[in-house]
Amino acid sequence: MNRPPLHFSPVQRWLHWSMAIALLAMLFIGVIMVSTLTQAHTTLIALHRPLGIVILALVLIRIIVRIGRGSPPLPDSVPPMQQTIAKASHLLLYALMLAMPLIGWAMVSAGGYPVTLFGAYHLPPLVSADARLFAVLRAMHTWLAFALFALVIGHLAAALMHGLIKRDGVFSSMARGHRR
């Protein structure tokens, strides 16, 4: 008999934790680089774009893996309402992880800037230069970044709740593999 897995696969766990680090780093890099006047501004901008493209590549792989392998079901002890909230918040997380790098890429393109990654290597523009479109995408990039940060915080708080207080296996499904 095939029973649903209790844990995410090693690939899924690797993707999850490396993206967790990359996303948090990215959110912090983002808010610092737009305010600071120090040399960190230049350094962080140079880091922000290639890291964004790495996140875009990782989330695409992650979506494919997730569709292919699915996820362990939440235990029955989690009430239906919470199950729905959990599903919706995960869907939103995926949507934002995918949208943020694409909006950033389009925004830089709309501003007429070269989409520089490193050295002479740059990406083609995603849209043509248009200041009004830039303005809209620039605002979206900021507000969705705050929304993503809020979701990440909520996700972390819920995971810790499961791991430290409920201890129902939800946290360990991502924290470790099968070990009996």
């Binding site: 040399q39 901008i45 800037y113 520089t116 915080i153 972390l156 430290l164 207080i165």
Partner: protein, 366 residues
């Protein structure tokens, strides 16, 4: 209630675990708020600087927060290959690179008189064949008044218009200059160099140092300037009467034909400062003529190609790198915020039922 038992971790102080969760979440959220600068509004940031420009000069919707008055130009750069041994940037290989540029005068007021300041500026964007760009913003002064963003802000603060007179308080400015002797070379230069009669007969200097990087990774500290082919002339009394003679003169001149400058690269000697824009390098330093800038057309900044360009001096092609000059990063950050605000105003003003800007003329301009 569960009976306490050391073998059952579930029983170990649930409030402590809950507190740990709150602590983790609070630290992360607090760290984010701190990183964003929300907990330290007095810390010098791009917002502090741009807000001060706005409070000093008023908000002129859709315009640059500084160097607000200007016009667009187009042309090309004809490289002679002279700098190609120092920098691998495609722009220095022999051949032509299209250029979009902008002439302007400093200050936040797009309707200021051309005589309000003795300085003019030239900003250029070179679009390289492979899609890389080189953007540079230059002034007719070969050096800057201050060395760091903090000093720049102190100067901006000292220049705040006095509500009573609408002009900066001379005593405050004097106090600032006295406290910042590094501003002396700049002030001496301005006193000794009257303003040009035209945008076209002035030399423009990329105030900050940069590095050229050659194909082998060898780095050379450089500064660059655009030296006009036209002989320098000072403003005449007749021109002083007109508030907009600079733009008018350039339109007229370009009807007669293109205007040219030579891109001259100064190479630092070891020990020359690369992080101090208040100090010039000696004139005896090696000079490389890298080619000719040829400007062929001018257009209003309302609809010219430069309208939506942020001339961020840290947008550089491979082969040119920023130096450690602290003003470079600060300019980049402040220009980005100015660009964000004016494009946003433009997007909002462009919407059907958007509120009008202060004056109809301003609402239409960018």
């Amino acid at each position: 209630m569960t009976e306490p038992s050391s073998s059952d971790p579930r029983a170990i102080c649930v409030p402590c675990r809950a507190a740990a969760i709150v602590a983790v979440v609070g630290l992360l959220a607090g760290g984010f708020a701190y990183a964003a600068g929300w907990l330290t509004p007095q810390r010098l940031s791009a917002h502090t600087v741009i807000d001060t420009f706005e409070s000093n000069g008023g908000i002129h919707q859709g315009f640059r927060r500084n160097h607000a008055k200007g016009l667009c130009v187009d042309g090309y750069f004809e490289s002679n290959g002279g700098a190609s041994s120092r920098s691998k940037a495609l722009v220095f290989a022999p051949g032509r690179t299209p250029v979009t540029g902008r002439f302007a005068i400093p200050g936040p007021n797009p309707t200021a008189s051309d005589n309000s300041v003795p300085i003019r500026s030239m900003a250029l964007m070179f679009t390289l064949a492979d899609g890389q760009q080189w953007r540079t913003g230059m002034n007719t002064t070969p050096l800057f008044a201050v060395r760091t963003p903090d000093e720049f802000y102190a100067q901006l603060d000292a220049s705040r218009p006095d509500p009573a007179t609408g002009k900066p308080d001379p005593a405050k400015l004097q106090a600032f200059f006295a406290a910042h002797p590094d501003t002396q070379p700049f002030r001496d230069w301005v006193t000794g160099h009257p303003p040009s009669s035209s945008y076209a007969n002035a030399a423009y200097y990329g105030i900050n140092a940069f590095y050229f990087v050659d194909a082998n990774g060898q780095r050379t500290a450089v500064r660059w300037s655009m030296q006009p082919e036209l002989p320098f002339e000072t403003v005449t009394d007749k021109e002083k009467g007109g508030a907009n003679y600079l733009a008018g003169e350039l339109y007229e001149r370009l009807k007669q034909g293109p205007v040219r400058w030579h891109l001259v690269v100064s190479v630092a000697d070891p020990g020359d400062p690369t992080d101090d824009a208040t100090r010039q390098w000696p004139a005896s330093r090696k000079q490389i003529d890298a080619g000719t800038l040829v400007l062929t057309r001018a257009a209003s900044q309302d609809d010219g190609a430069c309208r939506d360009v942020n001339f961020d001096p840290t947008i550089l092609p491979a082969g040119i790198e920023p130096s450690g000059d602290p003003l470079l990063a600060a300019r980049s950050a402040a220009y980005a915020l100015s660009y964000k605000r004016r494009t946003r105003e433009e997007a909002l003003n462009g919407a059907p039922d958007a509120p009008q800007a202060n004056t109809t003329q301003e609402a239409r301009s960018r």
